[in-house]
Amino acid sequence: MIVTLNPKILHFSKLNPQSPLSRPSPRFYRTRTISLTTNCKLQNPQDGNKTGSITKTISLSDSAPPVTEESSVKGGGNGGGGGGGGFLKRLPRKVLSVLSNLPLAITEMSTIAALMALGTVIEQGETPEFYFEKYPEDSPVLGFFTWRWIFALGLDHMYSAPIFLGMLALLAASLMACTYTTQIPLVKVARRWSFMKSDDAIKKQDFAESLPRASIQDLGVILMGDGYEVFMKGPSLYAFKGLAGRFAPIGVHIAMILIMVGGTLSATGSFRGSVTVPQGLNFVMGDVLGPIGFLSVPTDSFNTEVHVNRFTMDYYDSGEVSQFHSDLSLRDLNGKEVMRKTISVNDPLRYGGVTIYQTDWSFSALQVSKDGEGPFNLAMAPIKINGDKKLYGTFLPVGDTNAPNVKGISMLARDLQSIVVYDLEGKFAGIRRPNSKLPIEIDGMKIVIEDAIGSTGLELKTDPGVPVVYAGFGALMLTTCISYLSHSQIWALQNGTTLMVGGRTNRAKNEFPDDMNRLLDQVPELIKTSVD
């Protein structure tokens, strides 16, 4: 037996004595091949090692075909299912097949998308009067849409409306049904289609080519070099790559279900509350947190007392707020400090399942001293809230406070940084910064603004759904990425000296023929003759 090889790929040479290709070859080859025999022999000592290891690996994968097991399990399952009859057994199957129907799932997704879009168009969470006015009965929007529709379908709170949640539940059911009835069997099929026993089956694949004078073992080695898992049995070969890409969509569906479960947990088991606390005061977590759903169960940490040690704001040079900081101490029932942290926006505090967020701020009081007396604490009142621009004001009465029209000094502030002072007539008197200790003189009185005391706006919540949702997020990101991988399968059948190769892939279909051609170009041309 003599092998002729393209010198470039000589290292792939393998001399398998049990090769099925022991067909006597035409006589005219004989003269040509003799010279090549020496060539082969020359290379043999170097290649011996390589060849040995390669054949070994092939036989390794050959010895582990999970395929037959799988198919037998599948067959058994089918038999059992067919045996059990009865209406009760058939009903779930019917429901399943309806739910896993792709057009239904697409309809559900479109409906959900449309409802969400509607939810952003219709103002959410307004008072009924608002809708009466905006969507009146006598001039309906688009000719039919009035407030009656909104209240009948609950469109004023779209994202908790029964119609929306029902759609989501239906979609979740479809997801599960699809995973169960379509995707999992698909994986089984993908693993079952192992060896193809006829040329015709291979020719039916998206990519098919027949290689004259090629050996299946060479192909196996080359495919392995390209990252394929190769299985060989007799004259047939099965190879695949990127099986994860086939499994990943199942993972996507499971991740979606996980997120939905987590969302449900969040919606039923959370506590939430917000509080505005002046610097130096404290509150108990349990007083602030209110249950959201019927599964909300308070924990021990709700007894924790939160003390606001300090509230500060950072500013840009332009005077705009850059960050808020609240220095918080947590104390247990005995008054012992269990935790202390300075929180800011984007940096919440977490303790015993409760998360404290920095969300807002307010002006609590102004410490003012008059002619060396004091300091007095003047409470600041919010005057006008115009978008995000806040304005606070206070009033220092001067003279007889029991008089019918009290006169005094007004002080206005947009933030904790600078206070605008107006005199008794309401004329502008000056601007002072707290802590500057610089007195401002009004009608002979020396006013010193000692300090500005802010209050921090905190948001508290417990959410048992977050770990589940995060797990779902992680899984979704990962599986979506993996889904991009192509699952490529290649079958080959040795038929005499001709090698029939077919393959298919599920994603990168355009690149696949090129890749295949590149691989098949590497397969050495083989000429076999009986040496005798």
Binding site: G119, Q124, V345, P348, N510, D514
Partner: protein, 328 residues
């Protein structure tokens, strides 16, 4: 000061280079195909220059503003055109698989770039301060992923729209007339993005002209197959970016606003977009629905991206209103 000059120069370089590229594209339409092979290549090189110009621009802004340059609409538009130029370069360097992407990415890049630097957004180019909620490491991940996702999805859905146009266009001798009519129709339908289509059509025409003498129907079929395939691949890629972007945004929201999902308008529209492209990918997996149906879904998705990306900012509603039109 030196930064603003540098930024100015880079803006002008990238804009003018991309304009030249576009002019070359137009010229290739008018001049005979044989003479323009070199032209075509130089246009690709132009995009590479644009890419470096925009990269430099973004870095300059990053250095002098001290934060990741994605805090307002202007910066995100620049980033979007940067994403387009990346996609263009990928398809340029990946010469083995010839596709029609560059016919879409180059005009898209110039359109976005032109829009961003035009007078429309007067107050925008000044680098704004970062509000407290945006001061997070998540800004980089969330916004860049979202915009890369938008860029890829826009490309993919434009390919699908091109597919639709080619499929429904009558094959006849009144070649130009037909074409103009389609253009007009499309301009009417999506006047906002008319520019894309014209250019997409141009490249398609080129391809078709070259093979005019051969079997046109066969070529048309091939082209449709190609467009279908590439729009699928690119939308799948954009879908990954969109997923990662939305999820990282949710995690960030849980750190900042106290909840991972607030049904904020922008969030909701991003989710709607995600759902539409999920529908697209599902239609693609089913053999019975392929082709036109998926292309229609992708073109709906194209509109949705613009609603999500621009519409919500135009109104300046919700929690994502940073750097919207109204806030200035």
């Amino acid at each position: 000061m030196i930064f603003s000059i540098l930024e100015h120069i880079l803006t002008h370089i990238s804009f003018s280079v991309v304009s030249i590229v576009l002019t070359i594209y137009f010229l290739t339409l008018l001049v005979n195909l044989d003479e323009i092979i070199g032209f075509f290549d130089s246009s690709d090189k132009g995009i590479v220059i644009t890419f470096f110009g925009i990269t430099g621009l973004l870095f300059t802004r990053w250095i002098y503003s001290g934060h990741f340059p994605l805090s307002n609409l202007y910066e995100s538009l620049i980033f979007l055109s940067w994403a387009f130029s990346i996609i263009h370069m990928v398809s340029y360097f990946n010469k083995k698989n010839k596709n029609h992407l560059n016919a879409i990415t180059a005009p898209s890049a110039i359109f976005i770039q032109g829009f961003a630097t035009s007078g429309l957004l007067n107050n925008m180019p000044q680098s704004a301060i970062l509000v407290p909620a945006l001061q997070s490491q998540w800004l980089m991940m969330h916004v860049s992923m979202m915009i890369l996702g938008y860029g890829a999805l826009l490309c993919g859905s434009l390919l699908s729209i091109a597919l639709l146009v080619i499929t429904f266009r009558k094959v006849g001798s009144t070649f130009w007339k037909n074409n103009r009519k389609t253009k007009f129709l499309l301009n009417e339908l999506f006047s906002f993005d008319g520019l894309y289509y014209i250019n997409e059509r141009n490249s398609v025409l080129l391809q078709q002209n070259s093979n005019f003498s051969f079997s046109r129907n066969y070529y048309r079929y091939q082209l449709i197959e190609q467009l279908d395939y590439w729009s699928f691949r690119i939308i799948s890629l954009g879908f990954i970016f969109l997923t990662v972007g939305i999820l990282s945004g949710a995690v960030w929201a849980n750190e900042t606003w106290g909840s991972y999902w607030n049904w904020d308008p922008k969030e909701t529209w991003a989710f709607i977009t995600w759902t539409i492209f999920a529908i697209y990918l599902h239609i693609k997996t089913n053999r019975n629905f392929r082709g036109i149906n998926s292309a229609i879904v992708a073109s709906i998705g194209f509109l949705l991206i613009w609603i999500c990306y621009f519409g919500v900012n135009l109104l300046g509603i919700g929690l994502h209103s940073y750097g919207s039109f109204t806030s200035n």
